[in-house]
């Protein structure tokens, strides 16, 4: 008779563990036009994922991106474990400037990380960003407006959609902690997967929601998922 634990382990599973630690360069895309805020919050969570990090975090935006979506509100980022005192906002006009600014931020070594909004970053630029992030010991995140399939040097490509809030333990009428679904479309260190994450209001962290963890991908994504994207 085989012990249950062995059975569980040997079962063929596509379940991947949620990679809490960020790679030097990652891409985060919004699932739809309404998911930009969720994608931004998830990207910030990736930036501050390293523990005991006190260096600032840079937010590089282009004029186009800002015009549509309002301005970053530091008071609201505190809930995502980002101390406003660490925040630096760099406003640029064009995407080329934004990518240059992010590269400067990453390689300076003065920042824990930076994110830049980008519509179509050239592959060469992403390679440069990856090198810069490694050089400066920082985490870079490219925030894309939608799902992208172009070439990129980013080690991971996420797609983030908003989910209905969880329930509040004390008040069934109230909105609970915000949730979002993060699908990892491309990664190097394992199979792709998707996770439902809920903000922990105590720590500001983004733990995987108990009972929802696992491969939440639908069939279409499963087919697309393993394809190697870019020069990974």
């Amino acid at each position: 008779m085989i012990p249950a634990s062995r059975l569980h382990r040997s079962a063929p599973s596509s379940r991947a563990t949620y990679p809490a630690a960020a790679e030097p360069l990652e891409e985060v895309g919004a699932g739809g036009p309404g998911d930009v805020a969720a994608a931004l919050a998830f990207a910030l969570a990736r930036l501050v994922s390293a523990p005991d990090e006190r260096r600032p975090v840079a937010l590089v935006t282009t004029a186009d991106w800002l015009g549509e979506r309002g301005r970053p509100f530091a008071g609201g980022m505190r809930a995502w474990d980002l101390d406003p005192g660490r925040l630096i906002w760099v406003r640029t006009r064009r995407e080329g400037e934004a990518l240059w600014a992010l590269e400067e931020v990453l390689k300076s070594g003065a920042a824990a990380g930076g994110l830049a909004t980008a519509a179509a970053p050239p592959f060469v630029a992403t390679r440069r960003l990856e090198f810069a992030a490694r050089e400066g010991g920082a985490v870079g995140v490219l925030l894309r407006a939608g799902p992208a399939e172009d070439l990129s040097a980013a080690r991971r490509r996420w797609r983030v959609t908003a989910l209905g809030s969880g329930t509040d333990a004390f008040d069934p009428e109230a909105l609970g902690a915000p949730r979002l679904r993060a699908a990892l479309l491309k990664r190097r260190d394992g199979p792709p997967g998707a996770w439902d994450l809920e903000r922990d209001d105590e720590t500001g962290g983004l733990p995987v929601v108990a009972g929802l963890a696992g491969d939440g991908m639908d069939a279409g994504e499963r087919r697309r998922g393993p394809r190697r994207l870019g020069a990974a």
């Binding site: 931004l40 979506r69 309002g70 530091a74 008071g75 609201g76 809930a79 906002w89 908003a162 809030s165």
Partner: protein
């Protein structure tokens, strides 16, 4: 030392320089028609003089060519020349006190040895001015007043009054050298006085009393200033830089590459100067002195004082050396710290290893970003005393130190704020409750969950109007979630039936939650 540039209307002479042998004048509008404002030597030889009416002058010399004077542009030209003269001295004043006697004052105290002595310096300055097409008379003396007189009235175009012998040096000059008004000069002539030296022996109180009003006091003051008995501070065209270093080229430099090659040396020297005093530059200027008597400058501002040459070089490169307009070449290049501050203020706290290094790296990063993207492109949030969300935080220009952190706000706040808020159309269930659905940017959203209200009263002590230029009203904020899991921050402005009866309360979207 003073330079008297007789190139009145230098601008015009540059553009279409009239030949010296043909009489040429600049005319200006006077009380009674056009009057002569400036004359070339040929016109002066015909017996014309400044202030004469243009009609009289045309009667004397029918072939007279005349062009309207542009005193404002003349002043600008003189200022530009003063900036150019900063290569000789950090304190240069443009002297425009008396009409037709405009010139420059250079404070050369302790600086002439850099140019091989006083005589060599005067010769070099005059040669460089001549090359730029500016005829000039120069003099060097202990006081600005004496130098002024010598430059304009001595026989030689370059005059030097030996230190401590000012009295003798200007004794033989005419009284015009005292920078007096025309009426005072006329009166002095009536007394039979012609030379400055003749005033030395006269009793000063009697001299002052001879004149009506203030002219007498003015005469005595001018005399004292010329002889150094009364102080005469110069007003430089701009405050001299705290630290500067320069290099002079034998041949004019016409290519920007040459500048790039010299920059490291200059930065190193300036860095050493700053380091020695424990200071760092806050504002840097790289100034090229052009052969045509103008300057070309690029400036960079630093977010924190820095003395490291690499940082200064990188910053100026980022600003773009190509913005230096070399034109026909520059024969001197200067790097100056226009503003310097103590470096020690940024030293890390004891025991925080690497704090100083990382804050220096951050300051460097901010400078580079600002140099390329423009001042104000890099910002950090600062909490403000207000509970109205759009006023509660300001994005301030980034400096070296972390800004004051906001008071901890435990109320839910959106991650993106729409400023100004955008109007939405709503269908409300209850008048005082959250909407059941709303339309924002032409898309309808069905509300499945809502929390609120969080009531924020208007800040009645502020005079600025609220939304749509109406008086600010109370806002009730709701956090609502639509059926797709997106969370919005809506507020209803105004209370039903209580505030401002003319307007029914309206709904606005103020932000988006993650």
């Amino acid at each position: 030392m003073t330079v008297w540039t007789r190139a009145n209307g230098g601008e015009d002479q540059d553009d279409s320089a009239p030949p010296d042998h043909a009489p040429f004048v600049l005319v200006d509008r006077g009380a009674r028609g056009l009057v002569l404002h400036a004359l070339n030597p040929a016109a002066r030889a015909l017996g014309l003089s400044r202030g004469q009416s243009h009609a009289d002058a045309r009667a004397i010399a029918p072939q007279l060519a005349s062009v309207p004077a542009e005193p404002e542009r003349d002043k600008e030209a003189l200022k530009r020349l003063a900036l150019w003269a900063e290569r000789f001295s950090p304190a240069v004043a443009a002297d425009m006190a008396l009409p037709a006697q405009e010139g420059l004052f250079l404070d050369m105290t302790g600086g002439t040895h850099l140019f091989g002595g006083e005589a060599a310096m005067l010769a070099e300055l005059r040669a460089r001015l001549a090359k730029a097409g500016i005829p000039a008379r120069l003099a060097i003396a202990d006081t600005p007043g004496a130098a002024w007189a010598l430059a304009r009235l001595s026989a030689a175009p370059e005059a030097i009054a030996p230190p401590g012998r000012t009295r003798e040096a200007i004794a033989d000059l005419p009284l015009e050298g005292l920078r007096l008004e025309a009426e005072a000069l006329v009166l002095l002539r009536r007394f039979g006085l012609k030379r400055i030296g003749e005033l030395y022996g006269l009793p000063r109180s009697g001299l002052a009393r001879r004149f009506r009003g203030e002219a007498g006091l003015r005469l005595v003051e001018r005399l004292d200033q010329a002889l150094g008995a009364a102080p005469e501070p110069l007003e430089p065209v701009r405050p001299g830089p705290a630290y500067r270093t320069g290099v002079v080229f034998a041949e004019p430099l016409t290519h920007i590459k040459g500048v790039a090659l010299r920059l490291p040396d200059l930065a190193r020297t300036l860095g050493e100067q700053l380091e020695r005093d424990g200071r760092g530059a806050r504002r840097l200027a790289l100034i090229g002195f052009r052969v045509d008597g103008r300057t070309t400058t690029i400036e960079a501002t630093l977010s924190a004082p820095a003395a490291r040459p690499e940082h200064m070089i990188r910053l100026l490169r980022e600003k773009g050396l190509e913005h230096l307009d070399l034109d026909f070449g520059i024969d001197a290049l200067m790097l100056a710290a226009r503003q310097a501050e103590p470096l020690s203020t940024r030293q890390g706290k004891m025991g925080e290893d690497g704090h100083a290094a990382s804050s220096e790296a951050l300051a460097g990063l901010i400078d580079r970003l600002q140099a390329r993207l423009g001042e104000g492109a890099v910002r950090r949030p600062e909490a403000r005393e207000s509970w109205i969300p759009e006023r509660s935080e300001a994005w301030r220009r980034a400096g070296p130190d972390a800004p004051v952190s906001a008071a901890v706000q435990d109320r839910p706040r959106p991650i993106l704020l729409l400023d100004p808020p955008e109007p939405v159309r709503t269908t409300a269930g209850l008048p005082d409750g959250p909407p059941v659905q709303f339309t924002w940017r032409r898309a309808q959203r069905r509300v499945v969950g809502a929390q609120g209200p969080e009531r924020l009263g208007a800040e009645w002590w502020r005079s600025e109007p609220g939304l749509m230029n109406r008086p600010a009203r109370t806002r009730d904020y709701y956090r609502v979630e639509d059926d797709q899991g997106r969370r919005y921050w809506l507020f209803r402005e105004g209370l039903y039936g209580r505030e401002d009866a003319d307007h029914v309360p309206s709904w606005w979207l103020h932000g988006v939650f993650a």
